[in-house]
Amino acid sequence: MNAENQAGPRADNTKGLRPLLRIVAARRISQAFFVALTLWLCAVTTLGASFWRLSGWQVNFILQLDPLTALGTMLATRTWYAPLVWAVPVIVLTAFLGRAFCGFACPLGALNQTFGWLARRVTSKLPGSRGAALRARLADNRHSPWQAAKYYLLAFLLAAACFGSLQTGLFDPLPLLFRSLNMTLAPVLDAGFQALFLKPRHYASAWLLFAVFAGILGLNFLRPRFFCRFVCPLGALFGLLNRFAPWRVGKKGDAAHGECGNCTLCDTYCEGGCRPSGVLVASECLLCMNCLDACPQGRMTFAGRPSAGGEEHLPEPSRRGFLFAAAAGALSAPLWTIGGLAGQDGGTGKNPLLIRPPGALDEARFLSRCIRCGQCMRVCPTNVIQPALGEAGLEGLWTPVLNYRLGSSGCQVQCIACGNVCPTAAIRPLTLDEKLGQGKFAAKGPVRLGTAFFDRSRCLPWAMERPCLVCQELCPVSPKAIHTRTTFEPIRFGQAQLTGAQGARLGLTGLPKPTVNLGSGDYFLRPAGLVPMNSPEAGLRRINAATWTGQGQTFTLDAEPQPGQGWRTAPGSVVEVLVRLQKPYLDAARCIGCGVCEHECPIAGLRGVRVSYENESRSGPGRMLV
């Protein structure tokens, strides 16, 4: 990439027709375009009608180009999901031209290349160390047998996928980049502008996501494109796909161009570590085209013939290592099942908080498709979709899970955004009719995410004699899944003696000033010890106002107490204050598990009503109700 820094004459380049654009410049423009496109698509993955919002943009376009996603889901599901056919042109391109995607398109590759360049650009400023810098650069870009590691990783991942466990997304650069942008950089950068989000976004374990991303960029200080060379399973897949590529980089051997001086400038600037000066390791060539630019003799070409220096295809081909990695991958999938976290066999062992977004497939099929790209978490308008850290076990790391304590509300009833941005249909693209159980889905009923359970030791009306009922108010289904039963319960320290009565005004004594407002409409007075026979409201009079004076208390009731209802107003009669409580109950057959109740519950810590996955639609036989 730094060929322009070197002073050597480029005799051949000046001969004949000078191209409009040097190939390296074209590559840089292409890389910049794909990085900009990635950032733009990340920015517009926000619900809204304006042109810079989710309004017809193909926000998954770059993710859909990914052959590893296509191949992984294909192995895991035995189908090629239609939106992923965009990977086919990339496969065709790679088969004929080699890893052009790595060199020209991959946005993470471009970032890696930029960071590797930044690290070495600074180094070469050391005074008098230009020669040393070039030698260091040559050492950095020398081919390493460890570049075989990514093929073993690929073998592991694809073997696991064959057995239904899709883990490619953890290492695949495109989901990895989108995940990092969506859940770390976008929310952090937007905090100062609030152009994307009204409220600061929250993502569980964001620091870990960023640590991985920063680590990958940081490794470029060790070797340029460290991740691309040693880790990237997508690069490894491309390295296999270019096995028969007719066109590739190579050294011209004809005498017309003179002898190759073995200056190794091509190796010095090689991004892939593919050894262009010697026996070319064809699978490792990223098509960075730096060698074409660096060669002072113009001997490096991209052409339909083998390199004059010789060619081999893979680094350190070790069939044994390959088979070993594949066997480990094949074993890993059944080992996840041994853990029992995915809820096989009727849901035993599954984390109760493993609530998936609406439209998510059953856990086994979900894990055969989710690539952890974070698009659902990015688009969710209420920010409840979170990357799982432990909820789904190690196998489900960073898969989407709903956390109703975070975000601005529960899962919005009229929203179907997550399924409609999911690139692999791990979350199926629902229609509103299907989500709400309307129209032709009426018989099936609404999509349920789980069931709300009341914790009667924490719910205000149940545990603390306090009216509340936010959960019932916001329950969005009709009729509401949360319903109430009204009771009147004596409050603590609520007994007093009458000192006098005048119509609806009563004088009392002995009532300590309570911590609540007795005149708020929720409190009632009744003769103490009155056992209501026919109606629980017999003898109750609502307190309209209550004042404390030095002598005692003056209560104003909503109406004059009636002797016929058990009232005795003679001085000394004992009365008691009762609170009217509407106690919430759950009708589980109507609950859709949207979590608005849990989100809005005023018990801020451990909520008084909490949703867990029971009765979720996706579980099938694991459902709670029959």
């Binding site: 400023k125 050391l126 509300s409 205000l460 936010v470 916001l474 005023p602």
Partner: protein, 375 residues
């Protein structure tokens, strides 16, 4: 990364020859500082010492941290009521209309714009309330991201009609706002309010975090000073506002009895406002003191009788085809209870708001004008 490294050799290059020259000149004083070097170092050391002592002196905090860092609170969000009506009975007009005959729609509803215009004409025209140059804020109810058909939110036709009339009356600007339950963008979009605003020239103020500032309600009678204390409210939306108009649907509410004008003001609160449901009547009465509107429009065209305030089904609604315009939010709500077929005492906050001096719990004391629009 290696920037400092690049400078190091230069420093050494400058420093080392000087030292060696001095060392050779004063062999006895080897390892001792020269006068100049000493002064230079003494000055540098003094500068660091002074900076440390200075920072401590300037920023010295003898008290230590206070228990809370709550900012000074504003007293409510403002009184936008008509000055000439303060302390007097408000004014009110109630319009009933027949359903517009529309063959193409299964959900035929009367024309809210015509109803609104009729009611305002009876009150002397909107010009009696909105003067040229006024900056009007409409407080809509956009609590839920649901279709306007479900009646859980302010109807977009009413928003468009009121915004258009305000601009015709010479208002310099019309904005609308709410801090809803669901995500704000979704709420304004799905309720049709954003589109109505765009069509009529009103600006939607989304409840950005930066717009919230703490407010307190000074006590009035036995209301106030208790719940809304240093509590975040949507104060930023009121910047420069001279008139406030509340546009509220009439809805069932299991805990509060009903959700109408005063409950609509709940959408001006931020924070974990749900804790106030423990004293729902107390908080709504305080909301009546938090802000006093110029006008209130109560939309009883399609009243939510059950499953409120979210509704969710057309069967929760009943066509009543009534619209009320009042300067008194408490009176408007007392009329709303009549639409719901409930006694005013079933929503105790109405009486509490009257006690606090926010209006009249009996709308008939306003001598409302009853108007019939026909078809």
């Amino acid at each position: 990364m290696t920037g400092p490294d690049a400078n190091m050799p230069q420093n050494n290059g400058q420093g080392t020859p000087q030292n060696t020259a001095q060392d050779t000149g004063h062999g006895v004083e080897q390892n001792e500082l020269s006068r100049r070097d000493f002064l230079r170092r003494a000055a540098g050391a003094s500068a660091i010492a002074l900076a440390g002592a200075g920072l401590a002196a300037v920023l010295l905090d003898r008290q230590g941290p206070p228990a809370s860092d709550a900012a000074t609170s504003a007293k409510g969000l403002g009184d936008f009521s008509m000055a000439e009506l303060r302390g007097k009975p408000g004014r009110m007009a109630i319009v009933r209309s027949e359903v517009r005959s529309r063959v193409d729609s299964g959900n035929a509803q009367p024309d809210r714009k015509a109803m609104l215009e009729r009611a305002l004409t009876a009150l002397g025209g909107l010009g009696a309330f909105i003067k040229p140059g006024d900056r009007v804020l409409l407080k809509v109810n956009a609590a839920f991201a649901t279709s306007p058909l479900l009646g859980a939110t302010t109807h977009p036709d009413l928003v468009a009609a009121m915004a258009g009339l305000c601009l015709s009356a010479g208002a310099a600007s019309v904005a609308l706002t709410d801090n809803p339950i669901h995500s704000p963008e979704s709420c304004f979009a799905l309720t049709g309010i954003a589109e109505a605003a765009a069509k009529s020239g009103a600006r939607v103020i989304l409840p950005n975090e930066a717009l919230f500032a703490p407010v307190s309600i000074p006590p009035s009678g036995n209301i106030g000073g208790r719940l809304i204390r240093d509590w975040p409210a949507l104060a930023g939306a009121f910047k420069g506002v001279t008139k406030l108009i509340a546009l509220s649907p009439v809805k069932d509410h299991h805990r509060a009895g009903a959700s109408m004008t005063l409950k609509n003001f709940y959408g001006l609160l931020g924070g974990r406002r749900n804790v106030f449901h423990q004293d729902i009547n107390g908080i709504i009465a305080e909301l009546a003191l938090l802000v006093r509107p110029t006008l209130c429009v109560l939309d009883g065209v399609s009243v939510m009788l059950t499953n409120g305030p979210t509704g969710g089904s057309l069967s929760d609604l009943k066509a009543m085809n009534v619209l009320a315009v009042s300067t008194d939010p408490v009176a408007a709500d007392s009329f709303g209870m009549e639409l719901l077929g409930r006694a005013v005492t079933e929503a105790p906050y109405i009486t509490l708001a009257q006690t606090a001096g926010a209006g009249s719990a009996d709308y008939t004391t306003l001598n409302p004008q009853f108007l019939d629009l026909g078809a």
